[in-house]
């Protein structure tokens, strides 16, 4: 499947020729978003998704975009930051509101969109508003009753009960799920999603879809 929204590789100097930009912290988040946008049948020509290779890179990325000619001259109209809550939803929300403010951008609450000076800025925190965790937790919710997901969870729980210290359990569960699913083998959720294994019509994505409806309705 061809990439439709994600600019790879980076072209320098990058001038942001599309109206909408999603900024995610990792490639899997970007690929997930691309697949979701495609499932929503969004207009490919107006959207770009870029990832920053880690949460630490987003700060500079935002300040660079906020000063870019595309943004100041309103060719780039809407920017959405999407990150994982990890251990604290509140801390992550506070941190990225501060990052946006430092970049001289409006700072919406997570799950909301703010308009200023003909620009729309959105902030969304995975897995969903108010919850800790990451994208993988959101996706696992959508496949919780799938036997492959149950199997993956059982294996991980057994290992944890045996005293094996396992971090990032949801990432590991998704990797097991993908490894025993049809399609090409892949390490991460993003590429796994491209195999068509995630049911985007599941109601677990409802909040995210509602947010995207609001964000993409910029004027």
């Amino acid at each position: 499947m061809a990439y439709k929204y994600i600019t790879l590789p980076n072209i320098s100097p990058h001038s942001f020729s599309r109206e909408v930009l999603f900024v995610t912290e990792g490639q899997d988040d970007a690929l997930f978003l691309e697949a979701l946008l495609e499932a929503r049948k969004e207009d490919v020509g107006r959207i770009e998704v870029r990832y920053t290779d880690g949460i630490g890179g987003i700060s500079g990325f935002l300040s660079g975009i906020a000063k870019s000619p595309a943004f100041t001259q309103h060719r780039l109209r809407a920017i959405c930051v999407i990150v994982d809550a990890d251990d604290s939803f509140q801390e992550t929300e506070k941190r990225f509101q501060k990052e946006l403010h430092t970049a001289n951008l409006p700072s919406p609450n997570a799950g909301a969109v703010v308009a200023r000076d003909r620009h729309w800025i959105g902030l969304y925190i995975f897995p969903r508003t108010g919850s800790i965790g990451m994208l993988e937790d959101l996706v696992l919710d959508s496949i919780r009753t799938d036997p492959r997901a149950e199997l993956a969870n059982n294996v991980l729980q057994k290992r944890i009960e045996e005293g094996i210290p396992l971090d990032l359990v949801s990432k590991r569960a998704v990797q097991i799920f993908l490894a025993i699913s049809e399609g090409q083998i892949c390490r991460g959720l993003g590429r796994g999603i491209r195999n068509g294994t995630i049911p985007f019509d599941h109601n677990t994505f409802e909040e995210l879809n509602t947010f995207l409806d609001d964000f993409l309705a910029y004027r």
């Binding site: 990058h14 500079g60 990325f61 660079g64 870019s68 000619p69 100041t72």
Partner: protein, 355 residues
């Protein structure tokens, strides 16, 4: 030792192509970018006008550099967005805020007499009635610092006179532009000035960073005209034969040291520099500007040149001196987007456009 620089900020209202442009937090070295027609050169010329105030035709000089005809009452309109309103330029200096008002005015008798006197040998002199119509008044300061001058259309140009000349601190300024080539004679004068100010070794040391083979500069006469020759291991060579890159660096360095505590305006001078030496050029300019306490404003279209300036200035240990400002124009309103050295580094790191 660095003690400061003159322009800390500037706001230009209803003047030339600027309806209302405000630029805050200027630095020692300011690179001005932006689309064609965004006002880069006009901003340089406005800065020059502000420090050239004691010249009665300061308002007109930039137009003559551009070879733009300014004639009659219609010519007055070239200085304003709205001729019915005054133009105002306010700017921050180390000694506080300054303001200059330029407005359409009826010439007072004293100005008429002065203007007529200056044109006594001109072909259109016909008494004071020649200047009885409208002109422009330029005023600034109050009390002992009050300044006032008048500019009036006359013949195929303008004539100007100063009617109040209070004490005003005005730094010296030099505009260097690819359109205004500094003559061999001027360069020889500038080099002489630097020698008199005991800056011979400083200038040479900076030139050697770019071309280590240059041992000295000597003024020789070709007929009646003095010319600077570079003394190299291989012999003497006129500066003009060393190439535009070296010549540009020399004029820049000479301007910086000659003007000491002054302002050097560089209008796209980097176009003559090969990309491999642009960062060296800026390293030298940054060191020299700091040593001579000089402020620099330079225009550039080139991403490479702007990044090289940031690199060179960092190499000189003067990162905090760097400012890039991109002029923008939307719906006839100008604005400036300011970049620090860090902002440019981030934009470069992510490969973002900033011009």
């Amino acid at each position: 030792m660095s003690t400061g620089f003159y322009f800390h900020s500037i706001r230009i209202e209803n003047f030339r192509l600027f309806r209302d442009l405000e630029v805050s937090d200027l630095k020692r070295i300011n690179i001005i970018g932006g689309f064609n027609g965004a006002g880069k050169s006009a901003l340089l010329e406005t800065l020059f006008f502000l420090v050239d105030l004691r010249n009665p035709i300061c308002l007109v000089r930039p137009f003559s550099w551009r070879q733009t005809p300014l004639m009659g009452d219609e010519g007055l309109g070239m200085f304003f967005q709205d001729l019915a309103q005054p133009a105002k330029i306010s700017y921050g200096t180390p000694n506080g805020k300054r303001e200059i008002i330029i407005e359409k005015a009826t010439l007072p008798p004293a100005a008429v007499s002065a203007l007529s006197a200056t044109l006594i040998s001109g072909p259109m002199v016909g008494g004071s009635s020649v200047f009885a119509g409208n002109g422009l008044r330029i005023k600034s300061g109050t009390g002992p610092h009050a300044f006032e001058s008048y500019l009036a259309p006359h013949g195929d140009g303008f004539a100007g006179t100063i009617t109040k000349l209070g004490s005003q601190e005005l730094p010296t300024c030099q505009l260097l532009s690819s359109n205004l080539r500094v003559s061999a004679v001027e360069m020889a004068e500038w080099w002489s000035d630097c020698i008199k100010q005991n800056k011979r070794d400083a200038v040479l040391s900076y030139l050697k960073i770019l071309d280590p083979s240059v041992n000295n500069l000597t003024i020789l006469y070709n007929g009646p005209n003095p010319t600077i020759y570079a003394e190299r291991h291989s012999g003497m060579i006129p500066i003009d034969l060393l190439g535009d890159g070296f010549r540009n660096l020399l004029t820049t360095i000479l301007s910086i040291f000659r003007l000491r505590n002054g302002i050097v305006l560089l209008d796209e001078v980097d176009t003559a520099l090969h990309y491999t030496i642009t960062d060296k050029y800026w390293e030298i300019v940054a060191r020299a500007a700091n040593e001579a306490d000089c402020q620099i404003f330079a225009t550039s279209h080139s991403r490479e040149a702007i990044l090289s300036a940031a690199t060179g200035i960092e190499r000189a240990g003067r990162k905090a001196d760097f400012r890039y400002l991109r002029l923008e124009k939307a719906d006839s309103i100008h604005s400036a987007v300011l970049y620090s050295h860090e902002d440019i580094s981030i934009a470069s790191q992510h490969g973002f456009e900033f011009r």
